[in-house]
Symmetry: C2
């Protein structure tokens, strides 16, 4: 078993290797003067079970091409099996037609990864489980929920916690957390009665006096989260914290969150935190290295990964 | 027949549509906040013969993904046939293994374009003809030589012209031009006797008193060209001009060329010229719009394109 990494999340790849007690595989993933990617695998992989850790986070196109070219190089170097490890799967939100004559980019990306020569794919909290069905090769989708749960239990008086879904689309995910914590569930229901009118935030559930935990898979602009925090506090919540697996944090998201009423935003390292994220006053990053490391270990030994979710 | 364009060379796409007397197809190719690409084809393409003009020039990964996502959207919109038009084919220089455990990225890109759903590919002066063999779908590779030849004939006293290949790898291409112009051929033979020693430029052929025309397919850093110009002038050439199909012009290439002894660099619009290129004192751009437009016209009518090379 050998673990390699592109440039999108070397910190996580190194932490995974640390967990596995393996050196990170030697590979050079550089740019030519015109910014085309050049890859050179610098150690033998013939007959090896190879894992390429490369979340396709911002800049998604560059990181995806690094992954595809690395997989191409691995295949041409006679690797026995190649697993693409994408803790964050870029283009996942384009998982269905958004309108007439639009692409399904998540399916395209699945096809590209397969075409490049990946034999298996390992993901974490895929935006939609259906994306596993876009692949004809084996996939394993890990859940961050056990890690998030442990962190919540360590930091909160569970008796006073209320799990909150920031929108109706996230209720299933929120319910899974509430069930695990054995606590109540509330929902923020955004409504815009007429186009152009401003959104009204209805809170379904009694949040007064509660420590609210917002849960979701992706935080992008942070707008939804900050508005939800505001609405929850207006409804008497004691505090609002958000636990979100993937910290996309586009544009002014870090500043928006710093200036918000959120007590804390907890994200994972599925996307390598920028220095802005690292120095943000109310953002904390928890690592998925042992979860992913253990999944790599087990799949390499043809063992089940399902017990990782207990 | 409908012609669409991504964002890499809208000038050329519009000029092609002008030649064809067609409006450019309506499509929105935008970015989300996290810079993922979003495509929306804004007119009906059901049953249509569709051409997507999108050279995969800098930034190659973004332009390639735009192309792939557009092709995906076209396919899902029931286009009858989709031709990917790549006047410049990014990653073409990675057309063979550069060393052990390296990719063949040009082949990967060919597979990705096919996998996205292109039915045919139209290229211009491919870096290596072999790249056509990387595709299992039909390809047409156009030659800029007739356009370049016409420009040379219009600007030079052919009796005094010497065609020069800037390196031994380009002799076949240079010979084709020399034959067309019915003039002599010289070669710049760069040699480095020992690693670390500086390159020696040997000129094969008698260039004294001649107007030298350097010809090649790609100008990237411009270093080779500027050094060749210097060597040719030292050997008594009257003037040195370069005719190069694809103006990649990375890094400080435009400045390097402006400060060089090159009388002029003539490139085509296979890559959309930057404002720096447009305002450069000694770079001139000639258009391939009618060549590509005519090729689109003929292939759409199932006619041969070979007479375009006469
Ligand atoms: N990168 C992106 N950034 C923002 N929105 C996106 C992105 N990709 C897809 N979307 C949109 O997000 C919506 C899907 O989100 P969801 O309903 O949470 O699955 C669709 O309307 C998509 O058009
Ligand atoms: N984008 C690029 N920029 C500079 N050199 C490249 C690029 N892509 C490939 N190469 C190198 O260029 C050489 C091929 O050029 P050629 O011999 O002209 O076909 C190989 O050594 C490649 O590694």
């Amino acid at each position: 078993m050998k673990v390699f990494a592109g440039n999108s999340n070397r910190h996580l790849a190194e932490a995974i290797c640390n967990y596995l007690n393996l050196p990170l595989g030697k590979a050079s993933v550089r740019r030519f003067a015109d910014q085309e990617i050049f890859v050179e695998i610098q150690e033998n992989v013939r007959g090896e079970d190879v894992f390429v850790v490369q979340p396709t986070s911002f800049p998604a196109n560059d990181h995806l091409m690094e992954l595809l070219i690395m997989v191409d190089a691995m295949r041409r170097s006679s690797a026995r099996r190649i697993t693409a490890v994408l803790p964050y799967f870029g283009y996942a939100r384009q998982d269905r037609k958004a309108g007439p004559r639009t692409p399904i980019s998540a399916k395209l990306v699945a096809n590209l990864i397969t075409e490049a020569g990946a034999d298996r794919v390992l993901t974490l909290d895929l935006h939609a489980g259906q994306i596993q069905g876009f692949f004809d090769i084996p996939t394993d989708n890990l859940y961050a929920l056990p890690i998030l749960t442990r962190d919540i239990v360590a930091n909160y008086d569970i008796g006073n916690v209320m799990v909150v879904s920031p929108d109706v689309g996230g209720v299933v995910r929120a319910r899974a957390l509430a069930k695990r914590l054995d606590c109540l569930l509330a929902i923020v229901d955004k409504r815009r009665d007429r186009p152009g009118e401003s959104e009204v935030m209805n809170i379904i559930g009694e949040v007064a006096g509660k420590d609210c935990i917002l849960i979701d898979d992706i935080v992008d602009s942070g707008g939804t989260l900050c508005n939800a925090a505001e609405a929850l506090l207006k409804n008497g919540a004691t505090s609002v914290t958000a636990y979100i697996t993937h910290g996309v944090l586009s544009g002014g998201a870090v500043t928006r969150i710093a200036n918000s009423k959120l007590k804390e935003l907890v994200i994972t390292d599925s996307i390598q935190p920028t220095t802005a994220v690292q120095s943000a006053p109310n953002i904390r990053v928890i690592t998925t290295a042992s979860l992913i490391g253990e999944a790599i270990n087990r799949t390499s030994q043809e063992e089940s990964v399902s017990s990782l979710f207990d």
